[in-house]
């Protein structure tokens, strides 16, 4: 091979961006087409430096926009090889057209999304607006809570996305700055071990197989469009979760690190719990533990897989819980939050339906503090005691001015 391996210590101090860049290096991407945007820029910068230093081989195409980045990734993936890129926020928004094209064309591409708010007003900090924008795009979406996850989930992403039964692109989300720029200890895999987990890329319908010409990206109207979309949805609903679970299991054997489709914490006997994503999961876990000392049986449910949505896994995780708070880190702009709605759907037909309330928090990088979560858990306990939701169904946490509450 014409590139050098890198000797890593068992534990490296990496931020989420560098952890993702290292994972991409170890996956030996064939083509990266990318455009820089805060806070994901260091991922592609890291990759560029690996290339400049001879630690990766392949083509790195710095294009003129995020739309072109994903367009180039689509062309490269259709040609037949391993493809990845990274983006955030406005760049993600610019990419949206091509996200649907990538998934509709059933091309395995891994996109690291370092979550950031969407303008206006312009803001570089973390929230989940971009993640939510992508939720109907037909991609698999995995969620990292810390740099370790950002590293590990990239391997899971390639493994699942490139599986010939799946052939769907996959996003790996991490919180802007809170994960992407916060250095922590990251347990590493040796280069060979990491690569052997995902294995060589196995092309399918590749344009560079000239003995078997293929037509990608056809026109379908009312006669066939619905069948194509239905089939894609069918595969997301039926094939992806088992593949993710299998990849988690295999990864656990390899690394000792266990990931779950839904990450439950202190849920066995919980009366109250929050459901959230990203770095907030870790904060909520700390507070949940502390609430136990105050006599409130608190738990946390974190989503590890956002799409396909873990409908049954969430319902299972929430079994026996009396009050649930859905925490949405994206402005619902005139509706209940996405998590609130999805969880309501999970619970509606269950026997012992928990009391559900929604909270909007953390927009534009606003902190979710432990104090916020303490009072939130207390509100949930009060709901349990009263046997009904005492608060409005939608409250805003941590926003200045008069208390905002709706529904």
């Amino acid at each position: 091979m014409a590139f050098d391996k890198m000797e890593l210590r068992d534990i490296e101090v990496w931020d989420g961006n560098f952890a993702a860049a290292q994972a991409l290096r170890q996956c030996q991407i064939d083509v990266v087409a990318a455009y820089p945007i805060t806070p994901s820029t260091p991922i592609v910068e890291g990759y560029a430096k690996f290339l400049a230093d001879g630690y990766v081989e392949g083509e790195f195409v710095m294009v003129e926009s995020e739309h072109a980045a994903m367009s180039g990734c689509i062309g490269a993936a259709a040609a037949g090889g391993r493809v990845a890129t990274a983006t955030s926020s406005q760049g993600f928004a610019l990419m949206v057209e091509t996200l649907y094209q990538a998934s509709g064309m059933r091309l395995p591409i891994v996109l690291n999304v370092v979550n950031r708010a969407l303008a206006a007003p312009l803001n570089v900090n973390g929230d989940h607006s971009d993640m939510y924008l992508g939720r109907d795009s037909g991609w698999i979406q995995l969620d990292a809570y810390c740099p370790q996850d950002a590293y590990d989930l990239n391997f899971i992403a390639f493994k699942v996305s490139e599986d010939h039964d799946v052939r769907l692109p996959c996003m790996v989300h991490q919180d802007g700055f809170m994960t992407s720029h916060t250095a922590q200890g990251v347990h590493t895999l040796a280069d060979d071990v990491a690569y052997s987990f995902i294995g060589d890329f196995k092309p399918m319908n590749d344009m560079l197989d000239f003995e078997h010409p293929v037509t990608h990206g056809v026109q379908t109207e009312e006669d066939w469009h619905f069948e194509h979309k239905a089939r894609q949805h069918n595969d997301l609903m039926t094939k992806v979760m088992p593949k993710i679970q299998a990849a988690f299991d295999e990864f656990e054997k390899l690394s000792g690190r266990k990931y779950n489709i839904v990450e439950s914490y202190n849920m066995d006997d919980a009366d109250v719990c929050v459901v959230c994503m990203g770095t907030s999961v870790e904060t909520a876990r700390e507070v949940a533990q502390e609430m136990r000392e105050k006599g409130i049986k608190a738990g946390v449910v974190g989503l590890r897989v956002i799409r396909p949505f873990p409908f049954f896994e969430i319902a299972e995780a929430l079994k026996g819980v009396k009050a649930v708070a859905a925490l949405d880190r994206s402005s619902p702009n005139g509706a209940p939050g996405m998590l609130f709605n999805e969880i309501a759907g999970c619970l509606y037909n269950t026997q012992e339906r928990a009391l559900l309330s929604g909270y909007v928090y953390g927009l534009g990088g606003r902190d979710l503090t432990k104090a916020h979560l303490v009072s939130l858990y207390k509100e949930l306990q009060a709901n349990v005691d009263a046997g009904k939701v005492l608060t409005p169904l939608q409250q805003f946490i941590g926003v200045r001015g008069p208390k905002l509450a709706f529904l």
Partner: protein, 318 residues
């Protein structure tokens, strides 16, 4: 080295093996299919093709059918150039890594797009591809209008024509701006080869396409593609219209090598007045009213000035 076709005459040309089937949904008399066949016939090498959203795309790949017997991709309206650029990057990567399934091949990467997809919505993508030096060829099927969606103006639409979004009317002669000089803009990226071609001058076309395939780096080709539907002429007259476009010098045929060496490749023996070119098309019909006849005179002056400019560039080698 790439393998080039040797084609002696039109008969041989028309019966040569091609990878673009006659079975497609393009209008009778559409020049697109003629141009595409001429481009593809210029090589026997393997092809990786893209089409941007537009007439060519919607008429040649309607599931479950395809008119293409070559690797082909369509993503969207604006990004066909970047699609083949991505594929070309993958080809280079797999070549370096020794993973090509047929390592002895010498594929050509070509994106086809209309003027709307090139001059307007895809402009940035094409510019990016030209600037980055991908080994691709972008071919504009220039019919000077958004024909696929019913004839809206693009920045290639010429002055005085009537389109559905710049229609001629009681108080308007239609399009107010003359078309963008896309060949000059693309040549200014200092790419190895840019050229304007026309399907009637097929030998000139094949020579230019083969030149484009032979160079290392991005190539830009602008092909005049008379549109029977939007230019409003009888479908049987496509080649006649193409002849008028080249022989009136409205579409002069030339090439620009390395961004500066301009060669005029066709000098009509008998230059046709621009008025004849305009008169043959319904989209310019209103210009023949008395109040707009001055525009026909201005058309001729503009074409003369453009021709003089090209000649001066050729002479000065700039």
């Amino acid at each position: 080295m790439s393998e080039m076709k040797k084609i002696k005459n039109l008969k041989e040309f028309s019966t040569s093996a091609d990878r673009f089937e006659g079975a497609n949904l393009l209008c009778p008399g559409c020049a697109h299919s003629i141009i595409v066949r001429e481009v593809l016939n210029a090589t026997n090498d393997d092809l990786v093709l893209s089409a941007s959203t537009g007439c060519l795309e919607v008429c040649t790949a309607v599931y479950p059918y395809t008119s293409w017997d070559a690797s082909w991709i369509h993503i969207g309206f604006e990004n066909g150039s970047t699609a083949v650029a991505g594929a070309e990057a993958m080809y280079k990567a797999l070549k370096t890594k020794g993973r090509l399934k047929q390592p002895d091949r010498n594929p050509k990467f070509v994106s086809f797009a209309g003027d709307g997809a090139s001059y307007d919505i895809g402009f940035q993508w094409i510019s990016g591809c030209m600037e980055r030096g991908h080994n691709i060829m972008h071919v504009v099927l220039d019919n000077e209008v958004y024909a696929n969606t019913g004839g809206q103006r693009s920045s290639s639409t010429p002055i005085g024509s009537s389109s559905t979004t710049a229609p001629a009317g009681r108080v308007s002669y239609g399009e107010k701006k003359n078309k963008k000089d896309m060949v000059a803009i693309m040549a200014s990226h200092n790419i190895p080869y840019a050229a304007q071609v026309a399907p009637n001058k097929w030998k000139d076309m094949v020579k230019k396409i083969q030149h484009g395939f032979a160079v290392d780096g991005p190539v830009f080709i602008n092909a005049v593609s008379p549109c029977t539907t939007e230019w409003k002429f009888d479908p049987k007259d496509t080649m006649h219209l193409t002849d008028l476009s080249t022989d009136s010098l409205v579409f002069p045929l030339y090439e620009i090598i390395d961004g500066h060496e301009l060669n005029i490749t066709y000098r009509p023996k008998d230059v046709v007045p621009v008025e004849e070119y305009l008169a043959a098309q319904g989209r310019f019909k209103h210009l023949f009213k008395d109040e707009y006849k001055y525009l026909i005179k201005e058309w001729q002056e503009r074409v003369d000035a453009q021709w003089a400019h090209l000649n001066r560039r050729e002479e000065a080698r700039v």
